[in-house]
Amino acid sequence: MATRDANAITQLTLLSDVTPPSLERAWLTAPHPTLPIIATCSSDKTVHVYSLTNFRLLSTISGGHKRSVRTSAWKPHVSGESVLATGSFDATVGIWRRWDAYGQGGGDDTLNGDGDGVKKDPEGTGAGADGGDDDDEEWRFAVLLDGHDSEVKSVSWSPSGMLLATCSRDKSIWIWEDLDDGDNNFETVAVMQEHEGDVKCVAWHPVEECLASASYDDTIRLWREDIDDWGQVACIRGHEGTVWFLDWEGVENVPRGKGDTDDALSAQWKERHALSGPRLASCSDDRTVRIWRRQPKESQQQAPFGGTGVPSILRPTGTDETWEAEAVLPQMHDLSVYAVAWSKRTGLLASAGADGRIVVYEERFVTDPAAVPASSDGEGSGSGPGPRTEWTAIVVQDGAHGVYEINHVAWAKRADRGRAEGQDEEVLISTADDGSVKIWALG
């Protein structure tokens, strides 16, 4: 974060398109948590897996879904194997598996040969890296999760990888537990039906077992487990249209400061941040991107149920959370905003939508409160204590995919040869209606 020069001119530089692109609309591209590969969901009923090293197609996952694949998510913390969950308009969720030993470098041996390739999984190196056993190269269809009544819109793995959340036009959210019993068994843990419209997106908190959902009913809701029972702990109203997408802030995120004087601000900010936890970003048909913050509980030390050991029949009020609107980002979009991506590495936030525009925003400390007019672009950082911050759009890329709408953006670790040596650079991945997927560097 500190490596960026405050006065640098920022722009998005196109590194490459993926090749070959999907020939039909692409909905979402999910970067793998550790490997330099991405999974692009397409209306052609398949998932295209591309290399972030050379941007070429590695494999196509097909044969599992009868309609558009709308969404996918990689299970975290799996060693030696990649596990992908896919959600489709055919109302089902597919689970796919593949051994990691094969083809990590993008199917191009020279990439691994020049030492610029991918670090092989320690467990995978010995096991048949030269063998090329056909069975190991394939995506294995593991199981189909059946339960939703209509199109599945979003899937998300909990930070531990134990739980999978799925949501649908049927207004419900399902939480499944991956029993990890070697037999691909999943158990339904909860079905939540409080939303009054299609549930468009589900997103797990980065460290806690807390789920956020966004809906056609214009609300965002938060869900937690309380004594073996999953329930709604907050319903956030504010958006004036369908809420399309959500992304959580990284746990360690700190806004950018301007110099030494900001050390105190940073410390103050971290203290407050530790109390309220990671914030949530949302985007909507109302063309805005908003930031939400949980109000810290008055007394964090108190046991949640007063230690009486007598659970109330009613949901204890202790589990309810208050979420406040912290900021409306500078209004940069002219049509629906379909995606937000909050970088866990840099704290930068990207948005994209039907206007074909990609916007990158940066959050900075406001060092001199007097310098910020009351009606500044963003709405400031709320009324609570703590240092004020403001959001600035640092990149506006019009027509990023020509005339096409952009359905998704995501940040990923840069893995191509052009990256700077020893630096932890990031790329932005955008996915569009014409099936194209573009990889951008910020520079």
Partner: protein
Amino acid sequence: MTTEIQNSNPTILSDADLPTRLRPAEAAKSRAYGSGLFASTLSFPGDSVDPASQYLSAESESEGDDLLEEPIDEQEIYDLISTISDPEHPISLGALAVVSLPDILIKPTLTNVPDSPLRTVTVLITPTITHCSLATVIGLGVRVRLEQSLPPRFRMDVRIKEGTHSTADEVNKQLADKERVAAALENGTLMGVIAKMLETCQ
């Protein structure tokens, strides 16, 4: 769709009262013949030349020439959608005045980006009766027709005209939802109805 007809006695406009640009089109055609430049007519053997498809092919052949004049106007949008059939009558949306020329608007999508090629087509639909549950289907038919006919730089904004329908907001929200529209296009039953409505186009 097989239930009883909701509006059994709709008002029907006569063909002569519908907006048309027949005369200029005829003139253009005869001029083309006169000068021997009938290539454009040859490439469209059908007797009715669809201006939008003509534009589409012209665009792909000229490799995205940005200097192209903007040949798509409100009348041409009207021509594309007025021939769609009502789902419960064998009558066109134009004749039923469900769509009308003054309720079609084309404007730049990004007002602050002057050189952006994006255009928003707004079509206001007037259902024949205020509680017509087929309003969504009609709107979807119009949206599908436009999406299939217009180049991708056009954004569709198909809505129920204010004050003409009891659940307009609900219908409008559905019609504006890209994901729902995309899913509807994969629904065989619904697409059967839409295909039947669009049979009378071209």
